[in-house]
C-alpha cells in the first residue's frame, strides 16, 4: 500500500485528531525524505496495535525507533516493515520538550520495548505504559539525556572525573 | 609394635577431634566436613582391626556417598555462610548431663566386663569370606536390607517427580 492509502485508512479509523498529516517526497518541504505520517503522540499505542493487527496493513516488524531533537520539540520516528505485505512506512510522533510523553508500542512489537528504552535513555521521552521503563545503555542513575542538543557532559560522575579539565566547557 | 600403637593413637585422636568438631562447631558446613573426616578416621580404625575390606566399604559408602550427600544438602540451602547451629543448642546443661552420665555408664561397662582376649588370625581373603557369609548365614538380613534400599530408591524417585504432569507419564 502507498503511504496515502495507509494514511487514509488510519484516518478513517482514528479520525483527524489522532492522525495528523502525511508527507511524501513531493509534498515535503525538504529535498529528500521518505514518506511519513504524523501521529498524535499519545495515540501511538492504539495506532500501533491497529497497524499490526489489520490484515491489509500487517506491519509485523518495527525496524527502528529513533529519537530526534527538533529544538523546541522532541520526536520519535518509527520505521515499520511488513514481511507479509512487503511494504513499509515511517511514523512520526512529536511531543513537547518539557513534558515529553508518547504512548508505548512495546505491547505491540516485542522489539519496541528495548528501542523505546534506548530512546528514553538518550532523549528522555517518556513512553506511557511501557512495561519495563528503565535506562538501557547508560547507568540507571545517569543524569540528563545525552543526545539532546542542549546536553552538557558532566565534569564528575559519582566522584570520578569523566571529563578532563582542559576539555570541559571548550566544546 | 610401637609404631602400630603410635599410629593407632594418632588415628584415634583424629577421629575424636573430628567428632568433637562435628558436635561443637558453630558453622554447620564445618560440622559436615568434620563428619566426613570422622568417617575417614573410622575407616582407618578398621584397618587396625585387620578388616581392610570393611575399611574400603566405609570409605566408599560413608565418605564417598553419605557425607557427600549431606554436604550436597547443606550446600544447596540458602545463605549457608550465615547458617550456624547455635540456635539449636539451647539446653547445654541438660545435654551435658546426659552425655556425662552416658560416658560414665560406658566407662563402667568397659571396666566391669571380663574381656576375652584372643589372638586374631589374619584372614587371607576377607571379601570371599564375607561374601560366603552373606550368601549363607546372613542371607535373610542381607536380602531385607536390599529390599529396604529398593523401597527407599522408589520413594526418592516418587518425591523427585515434583509435578503432576510427570506423574501421568
Amino acid at each position: 500500500m502507498t503511504p496515502e492509502e495507509i494514511f487514509n485508512k488510519l484516518k478513517d479509523k482514528f479520525g483527524e485528531s489522532k492522525i495528523l498529516s502525511v508527507h511524501n517526497n513531493e509534498s515535503a518541504e525538504v529535498d529528500i525524505c521518505d514518506p511519513f505520517i504524523n501521529i498524535e503522540p499519545l495515540a501511538m499505542t492504539e495506532v500501533a496495535k491497529f497497524l499490526k493487527n489489520d490484515s491489509e496493513l500487517a506491519f509485523d516488524q518495527c525496524c527502528c525507533i529513533s529519537g530526534v531533537d527538533l529544538g523546541d520539540d522532541l520526536q520519535a520516528v518509527y520505521h515499520l516493515y511488513s514481511f507479509n505485505q512487503k511494504h513499509k512506512i515511517c511514523l512520526k510522533a512529536t511531543t513537547n520538550r518539557e513534558n515529553p510523553a508518547i504512548g508505548t508500542t512495546a505491547l505491540t512489537w516485542g522489539i519496541s520495548g528495548w528501542l523505546e528504552r534506548e530512546t528514553y535513555d538518550m532523549f528522555g521521552i517518556i513512553f506511557k505504559n511501557h512495561p519495563d521503563h528503565r535506562r538501557i545503555l547508560l547507568e540507571e542513575d545517569w543524569e540528563g539525556y545525552p543526545l539532546r542538543k542542549d546536553y552538557e557532559f558532566p565534569r564528575y560522575w559519582r566522584g570520578m572525573e569523566v571529563t578532563p579539565e582542559e576539555d570541559y566547557g571548550t566544546d | 609394635m610401637v609404631i602400630a600403637d603410635f599410629a593407632f593413637i594418632l588415628v584415634a585422636a583424629f577421629v575424636l577431634i573430628c567428632a568433637c568438631v562435628v558436635v561443637f562447631h558453630n558453622k554447620i558446613i564445618y560440622s559436615a566436613f568434620a563428619l566426613l573426616f570422622c568417617f575417614f578416621g573410622v575407616a582407618g580404625l578398621y584397618v587396625f582391626l585387620n578388616a581392610e575390606f570393611l575399611a574400603g566399604t566405609q570409605l566408599l559408602v560413608y565418605v564417598g556417598g553419605i557425607s557427600v550427600l549431606i554436604l550436597f544438602g547443606i550446600l544447596l540451602t540458602k545463605n549457608i555462610e550465615d547458617l550456624t547451629s547455635k540456635e539449636v543448642s539451647t539446653q547445654k546443661i541438660f545435654g551435658g548431663l546426659i552425655s556425662v552420665t552416658f560416658l560414665g555408664g560406658l566407662i563402667y561397662m568397659v571396666n566391669s566386663v571380663d574381656w576375652k582376649v584372643s589372638t586374631p588370625k589374619p584372614i587371607e581373603n576377607s571379601p570371599v569370606e564375607i561374601g560366603k557369609l552373606f550368601m549363607s548365614d546372613f542371607l535373610i538380613p542381607f536380602e531385607i536390607a536390599g529390599v529396604l534400599l529398593l523401597v527407599a530408591l522408589i520413594g526418592a524417585v516418587v518425591i523427585g517427580r515434583d509435578t503432576d504432569k510427570d506423574l501421568e507419564v
Binding site: - | 610401637v2 558446613i29 566426613l36 581392610e52 575390606f53 565418605v63 564417598g64 550446600l75 581373603n125 570371599v128
Partner: protein, 362 residues
C-alpha cells in the same frame, strides 16, 4: 624400625616423583597433541637449556625448538605467582581443598601394578582400595567450590560431585565383572591372570582362564571396557564430560578462584587421576605389564614391564586427549541420561552375563 621409615620415605618419594612426572608429561603431550590436531605448533621455545639459562639469569637463546621444558617452566611460573585468597572465602577450607583433592589422587598411585615386583602397596583388595580412596577426592572438590565463595565455583563443584557419584556406579559394576572372573581384588592377581599371548587379555574375554570357550565373553568385555572408559572420562572431568569446569559456562568451575600453586595442584591431581583411570583400564583389560607376546615378557629385559605398562597407559591417554579435542561438551542433564539410562543398564547386563557364564558355562 629404621628400615620401615626408610621404606615409607622411599616409596612416598617415588610416588611423588611418578605423579609429578606423569603430570608434566601429560601436560606437554596435551599441548603438543592439541596443537597438531588444530593445525598449530604448540610450545616451541622453552628447552631445558633455555630454562637453565633463564633461571641462572643468563641470556636466553632459542634452543630446544620443540618446547620440551615448557611444562616445567610453567610450574616454576605458577610457583612464583601471587597466591590470592578471595576476601569472602573460608580461608581454612580454601587452603585445605587442593590438598584433599591431590591426596585422593595421590593415594591411588599406591596400588598401581607397574610391574610384578613394582607395586608400592600390594594390598589384597587393591582394586577396591583404588575405587574407595578416589571417592575421597570428591569431598575436596566440594570443599573447593564452597569455600571460594563463588557461585560458579559452587555450581561447578555440585555438578562435579553429582557426576562423579553417578559414574562410580557403571565404573564399579564394569570392574566387578573382571573381579568375578578372576576371583580376586588384588591388582597383581588380576594382571597375572592375563599372562601370555594378548588374546588372554580380559578385553578379549576369558581365554586366559578357560581356553577357547572364553571367547564367548568377548562382546561383554568390550562393552565393559567401553563403559569403563567413558565412566573414567567422566570421573576425571575430561571432555566431553568436563561440565564441572566448562570454561564457557562456569568460567572454571570449582577452581575459579584458585591461583598459583594451588591451581597447579588441582591440575596435577587432574592429570594424575587421568593416569590412574587409564592405568586401571590397562591393568584390568589390557594385560597390565605383559606385552602380549610371551617371548618379550620372558626375555627378562630389566625395566621392560613398567615401560610396557606406562606405554599402554599413555596410548589410552592419547585417546582421551584425542576425544577432548574432537568432541563438544554434553549438557548436565544429558550427562546424567547417558549414565543412568545407557551405561548402568549395559554394565548390569554384562555383569549378569558374566555371572551366568561363571555359574553355568564353566
Amino acid at each position: 624400625m629404621d628400615n620401615i621409615f626408610l621404606w615409607i620415605a622411599i616409596t612416598l618419594g617415588a610416588m611423588v616423583g611418578l605423579v609429578s612426572v606423569v603430570g608434566i608429561v601429560s601436560i606437554y603431550l596435551e599441548r603438543k597433541i592439541s596443537a597438531f590436531m588444530q593445525d598449530r605448533l604448540g610450545p616451541m621455545e622453552v628447552g631445558f637449556g633455555s630454562l637453565v639459562n633463564a633461571i641462572a639469569g643468563k641470556e636466553v637463546l632459542r634452543e630446544g625448538r620443540i618446547g620440551l621444558a615448557q611444562s616445567l617452566a610453567d610450574g616454576l611460573k605458577l610457583l612464583q605467582k601471587e597466591d590470592i585468597i578471595p576476601d569472602g572465602a573460608d580461608k581454612f577450607l580454601f587452603k585445605l581443598a587442593p590438598m584433599i583433592v591431590f591426596a585422593g589422587t595421590f593415594s591411588t598411585f599406591a596400588a598401581l601394578p607397574l610391574a610384578e615386583y613394582f607395586i608400592p602397596a600390594d594390598v589384597n583388595i587393591g582394586l577396591f582400595y583404588i575405587l574407595a580412596i578416589s571417592s575421597f577426592g570428591v569431598s575436596g572438590i566440594l570443599m573447593a567450590g564452597w569455600s571460594s565463595n563463588n557461585k560458579w565455583g559452587l555450581l561447578g563443584s555440585l555438578r562435579s560431585t553429582a557426576q562423579m557419584v553417578s559414574y562410580e556406579i557403571p565404573v564399579g559394576v564394569s570392574l566387578v565383572s573382571i573381579v568375578m572372573l578372576t576371583g580376586t581384588l588384588s591388582m597383581k592377581g588380576i594382571v597375572v591372570a592375563q599372562e601370555g599371548w594378548f588374546w588372554n587379555w580380559h578385553l578379549f574375554g576369558a581365554v586366559g582362564h578357560h581356553g577357547l570357550i572364553g571367547f564367548v565373553l568377548l562382546p561383554m568385555m568390550v562393552i565393559n571396557f567401553i563403559a569403563y572408559f567413558i565412566g573414567s572420562l567422566a570421573e576425571t572431568n575430561r571432555a566431553p564430560f568436563d561440565i564441572p569446569e566448562a570454561e564457557s559456562e562456569l568460567v572454571a568451575g570449582y577452581h575459579t578462584e584458585y591461583t598459583g600453586m594451588r591451581f597447579a595442584i588441582f591440575f596435577l591431581a587432574e592429570y594424575g587421576a587421568i593416569f590412574v583411570g587409564n592405568a586401571i583400564a590397562v591393568a584390568l583389560f589390557l594385560g597390565g605389564w605383559y606385552s602380549g607376546i610371551p617371548a618379550i615378557d620372558q626375555a627378562n629385559i630389566p625395566g621392560i614391564a613398567p615401560l610396557v605398562f606406562i606405554l599402554k597407559t599413555f596410548v589410552l591417554i592419547f585417546v582421551v586427549m584425542w576425544i577432548r579435542w574432537t568432541l563438544p561438551r554434553l549438557r548436565v542433564d544429558q550427562l546424567m541420561t547417558l549414565c543412568w539410562k545407557y551405561l548402568i543398564p549395559f554394565t548390569l547386563f554384562t555383569f549378569f552375563s558374566v555371572a551366568i557364564y561363571k555359574v553355568f558355562i564353566v
